[in-house]
């Protein structure tokens, strides 16, 4: 064995560039795979942290709705009903604005003494709050402090519910409170403002601590439903909306399908890595075939030669893995910074490095294994080359099944079909490329005879070389796989981006006023700055155990042109987007039953909407469900800030707030946006890896053919002609690779689109952009 390792050492010393390139390739593969794994870890971490920030330890929330008779709730009343089996914290939405600058900040009023029963806060810096200063103390977010150029201990005056009040900053938090509030004040201090004008408030004194949302932390496990039932049975809470926190996170984040996207990303990065590493190693091994054959002819056993192959690639992995690890850390930090995580602090899981190291080792061993098999048994080599003859029909069959079978089965079939497509491209491209160049060669030869060969044949020799030189066919294979992976990811990410942007511009209004009343509407309609006011109901329902978002609108103009809608539903009509139809196997005329709240309603599917907005549209009035949100559309050219302030002034005492319509959906797609941002970051990383891999491959393959080019020179071909010949070889390889990958990408994307329908997603085939 010593002799064999000496041979390996000398081989590497003789041609060090090739091993260096392979080590670099393995390192970069590890960086890409680690990045994909870390995206999943970061996003899951962000989701968990977000839940803690937005809901604390709350198990469920209680909030007002349009049918609620009273406009506020009391946390101590709730605790009384629950017989102290739960801790209850009440929040009161409190927009404040700076009169002089006309800017609005979104705040919340809480009971400072109680809030930490459910929520935990981390402050960058803070001052002590005493009982005498509690009502003049404000806790602010870092964004707020920077925006208004304020620091710890500074005072500021704002208009609160129509009254001017001065606060002193006693603490600065890194992130907004409960995920969305810029400042937090004590509710008693706010209510004292109203006391002067309200008999009710003044009579109740400091015990008047109203809330519009309650956060309930059940102290004993397993009693959440009992607590909800107990509150619902009380007259003060029976007309309120209850929401289990776990359900909110599931609907908002749609964690399951999003995690699937991460696995798809990891799988694609693996495919890319396998292709790049394999193709680089192919060239190195190809050169050694003669040497290895000589060893065997001199008596070396196959097992010794196999061990040498594994040892060589193992050595490259041992050097490449630490380099990959070292590069992964800054790259992962960059992802963390660029993607925009708000709550999660990047902690690098050793697990991600272990997994990516293991995966790159598997890729390396697999690569060596394939060459060992190909060298050992010529018959199997033939089979290997012809593998595409089996995988191609299998792929076509699974492709047809994926697009025709019921939606629930499609994702698994999609995965199998994508793998078969990958194997078909990998094993078939060299053969097809060779065949096509043979045809071109025959045509050129005939033309040469006809024309008495007066043309310099640099293109002709390029065709001949491509036909025969396996490393060139190998380069074409690599390029095809790279382009298919890149096109697929680009289309998927772009598609998701377009969908989310469509959501953001879906509502045809500037602001939404949730939990609004008729009185709100009257006040807003009187404003000159408001052109249109629409009423909507946004709710959620369950259809066959699937949670769906539901929307009812008073006027079709409430929605923009991105929605495929020409009228509002009448009666029990239901307008369903295609993605939900796929998942639920619905067609026009079907009767469906949807659970909304405690009741079940019968609907008739009347329209299949082609837009990608995953919300069903129905007519709430038909079922006696009242609209709960107003949409206010400002007049043309009005400044948004001005409109916002006018609306706030109008609804000051309505115990509600206003939300920018674009931001209304932002919260629903926080996690989705993170995935898309990650996708936009990982994509250039993959492209860079692919480009480096391709360049490496070309460099190695041309270095390996130096002797051949010298022979051309010796035969009288000028260097210029040799260069031109090489150019044509690369052009042929690139053109064929591009054409084939475009065709294959179409299949891959169609497969992915159909596969994702299992989760209720449809991809926009934004292929042109890709």
């Amino acid at each position: 064995m010593k002799l064999f390792f000496k041979h390996l050492k000398n081989s590497i010393k003789r041609k060090p560039i090739q091993p260096l390139i392979l080590i670099l390739t393995l390192a970069l593969a590890m960086v890409v795979i680690t990045a994909c794994i870390n995206v999943g870890i970061f996003i899951n971490g962000e989701t968990d942290e977000r839940q803690v920030v937005e809901y604390g330890t709350a198990d469920f929330t209680v909030s007002l709705n349009a049918t609620s008779k009273s406009r506020f709730m009391f946390s101590d009343k709730a605790e009384e009903i629950l017989e102290n089996k739960a801790k209850v914290v009440g929040l009161y939405d409190l927009p404040v604005y700076f009169s002089q600058t006309n800017q609005t900040a979104f705040g919340v009023a809480v009971d400072f003494y109680d809030v930490e029963q459910v929520f935990e806060f981390e402050f960058i810096e803070h001052l002590p709050i005493t009982s005498s200063s509690v009502n003049e103390s404000a806790l602010v977010s870092l964004d707020f402090a920077e925006k208004y150029n304020l620091g710890l201990g500074d005072s500021f005056t704002v208009n609160v519910l129509g009254y001017d009040k001065t606060y002193t900053i006693k603490a600065i938090s890194k992130i907004p409170f409960m995920g969305s509030y810029e400042l937090m004040v004590n509710v008693t201090g706010v209510m004292r403002l109203l006391a002067s004008d309200s008999l009710l408030v003044s009579s109740l004194g400091d015990s008047f601590k109203p809330s519009n949302t309650l956060y309930v932390n059940v102290l004993e496990d397993g009693f959440v439903n009992d607590c909800i039932t107990a509150l619902k049975n009380d007259a003060d809470f029976s007309d309120k909306t209850f929401q289990n926190v776990a359900n909110i996170m599931e609907q908002d984040g749609e964690i399951g399908p999003m995690n699937t996207i991460v696995y798809v990303l990891i799988a694609l990065s693996l495919m890319l890595s396998v292709a790049v590493v394999f193709c680089c190693f192919y060239i190195i091994s190809n050169e050694r075939t003669g040497e290895n054959a000589l060893f065997k002819a001199l008596g070396a056993t196959a097992s010794k030669m196999n061990l040498l192959q594994y040892a060589e690639i193992g050595l490259y992995w041992l050097i490449g893995a630490p380099i990959g690890l070292a590069l992964s850390i800054p790259f992962s930090k960059l992802i963390y910074r660029v993607v925009g995580f708000r709550y999660f602090t990047a902690k690098f899981s050793p697990l991600s490095f272990v997994i990516s190291s293991a995966l790159t080792l598997v890729i390396s061993v697999f690569t060596a294994f394939v060459f060992i098999i190909s060298e050992r048994r010529p018959k199997k080599l033939k089979k290997q080359i012809s593998l595409y003859k089996y995988t191609l029909p299998a792929f076509l069959l699974t492709f047809i099944l994926t697009i025709t079978l019921p939606v629930k089965a499609r994702f698994i079939l999609c995965c199998i079909s994508e793998i078969l497509l990958f194997i078909t491209i990998f094993t078939g491209v060299p053969v097809i490329f060779k065949w096509i160049t043979s045809v071109i060669d025959k045509i050129l030869c005939k033309r040469q005879i006809k024309n008495n060969g007066t043309k310099v044949a640099s293109f002709g020799y390029a065709v001949k070389n491509v036909k025969q030189v396996r490393v060139l066919q190998n380069s074409c294979r690599l390029l095809s796989v790279i382009l298919v992976v890149i096109f697929t990811i680009l289309t998927a990410v772009n598609s998701a981006d377009i969908v989310i942007n469509n959501y953001k511009s879906w509502l045809n209004a500037d602001f939404a006023i949730p939990n609004s009343t008729a009185s709100c509407r009257e006040k807003i309609e009187k404003l000159d700055s408001v052109e249109n006011v629409y009423s909507i109901l946004m709710t959620s329902g369950t259809i066959n155990d699937m949670s769906i978002k539901m929307l009812s609108i008073s006027d079709v103009n409430a929605l923009s042109d991105t929605c495929d809608l020409d009228r509002t539903p009448t009666g029990n009509e239901l307008f369903v987007p295609l993605a939900i139809c796929d998942r639920q196997n619905l067609k026009i005329g079907d009767i469906v039953y949807i659970q909304i709240g405690e009741s079940q309603y019968e609907f008739k599917v009347s329209k299949l909407r082609k837009d990608n907005i995953n919300v069903v549209i129905f007519n709430s009035e038909y079922f006696g469900l009242e609209y709960d949100t107003l949409l206010a559309d400002g007049v043309e050219n009005i400044e948004k800030e001005l409109l916002r302030n006018q609306l706030l002034s109008a609804i000051a005492l309505e115990m509600t707030t206003i939300v920018d319509c674009k931001e209304l959906f932002n919260r629903l797609f926080v996690v989705g946006s993170l995935y898309i941002n990650s996708g936009w970051f990982i994509l250039p990383m993959m492209i860079l890896f692919a480009v480096i891999g391709m360049v490496d491959n070309v460099v190695i393959s041309y270095r390996a053919r130096r002797e051949e080019f010298e022979l051309y020179s010796l035969s009288g071909m000028s260097k210029k002609t040799v260069r031109r010949m090489i150019f044509f070889e690369l052009l042929l390889t690139a053109t064929f690779g591009l054409v084939l990958s475009l065709v294959s990408s179409l299949f891959a994307i169609l497969l992915l689109d159909n596969g994702m329908r299992t989760f209720g997603y449809r991809m926009l085939l934004a292929f042109g952009i890709a």
Partner: protein
């Protein structure tokens, strides 16, 4: 005419050629002989312009090939000089026919005359049946004959051959040497060959013997 003036060459400090002076006239058929390690192949490589001597000059028709530009040298290689290497040096990705026609194609000289000559050479060298095969599919003798055909196909002024009959049987050896003799006579091609065989060397007009890097007088 080819002139070698006081050429020396060393490898790793060891002198292989020690001041060689030679002149090859037009239409001459010269055989270079010597024991293994005497410097024959080195001398041939220097004459062919593949190896630069440490000292001395090589002149092709009065011009030093090492002073040519790349393009000019390439041009000379496909018109003035043909070379048959000891290890054949066929391009593995081209068929036998493509290998033979390569210099002619590069010179844009494919015409009826060259095609006829190609036909003649391949018949004489008995390589017609496997013109469409690749070097990897040919035997050593077949490769050698293809290499000879490649060197002769474009009717160069000088043909240099390194052990041209090393892989051939005695019958084919005679055929090849007869062909070279004929080319030398009819086309007035200068032929310089390195050989171990006394029999083959006798086909030449002159025999040069090398020993320890020097010409034996």
């Amino acid at each position: 005419m080819i002139q070698i003036q006081n050429v020396t060459k060393s490898y790793n400090g060891e002198k292989v050629l020690k001041g060689i002076d030679l002149t090859f006239s037009d239409k001459e058929f010269v055989s270079i002989m010597g024991a293994s390690g005497s410097g024959k192949s080195t001398l041939l490589s220097i004459i062919g312009g593949f190896l630069r001597p440490d000292d001395g000059n090589v002149l092709w028709e009065g011009q030093n090939p090492f002073d040519f530009t790349d393009d000019a040298l390439a041009g000379k290689r496909r018109s003035y000089m043909g070379f048959v290497f000891q290890s054949f040096k066929l391009i593995s990705t081209l068929t036998a026919k493509d290998n033979i026609m390569l210099p002619v194609t590069l010179s844009k000289k494919i015409n009826n005359e060259t095609l006829e000559y190609f036909d003649f050479l391949t018949t004489e060298l008995e390589i017609k049946p496997f013109l469409n095969k690749y070097p990897g599919q040919l035997s050593g003798g077949q490769c050698q004959r293809v290499a000879i055909a490649r060197a002769l196909c474009y009717k160069p002024s000088v043909v240099i051959l390194d052990e041209p009959t090393g892989a051939l049987d005695s019958v084919m050896e005679v055929k090849v040497m007869e062909l070279l003799k004929r080319v030398n006579k009819e086309q007035k091609t200068t032929i310089i060959q390195v050989t171990h065989s006394e029999k083959v060397s006798c086909y030449g007009d002159r025999i040069i013997r090398l020993k320890d890097g020097l010409i034996v007088k």
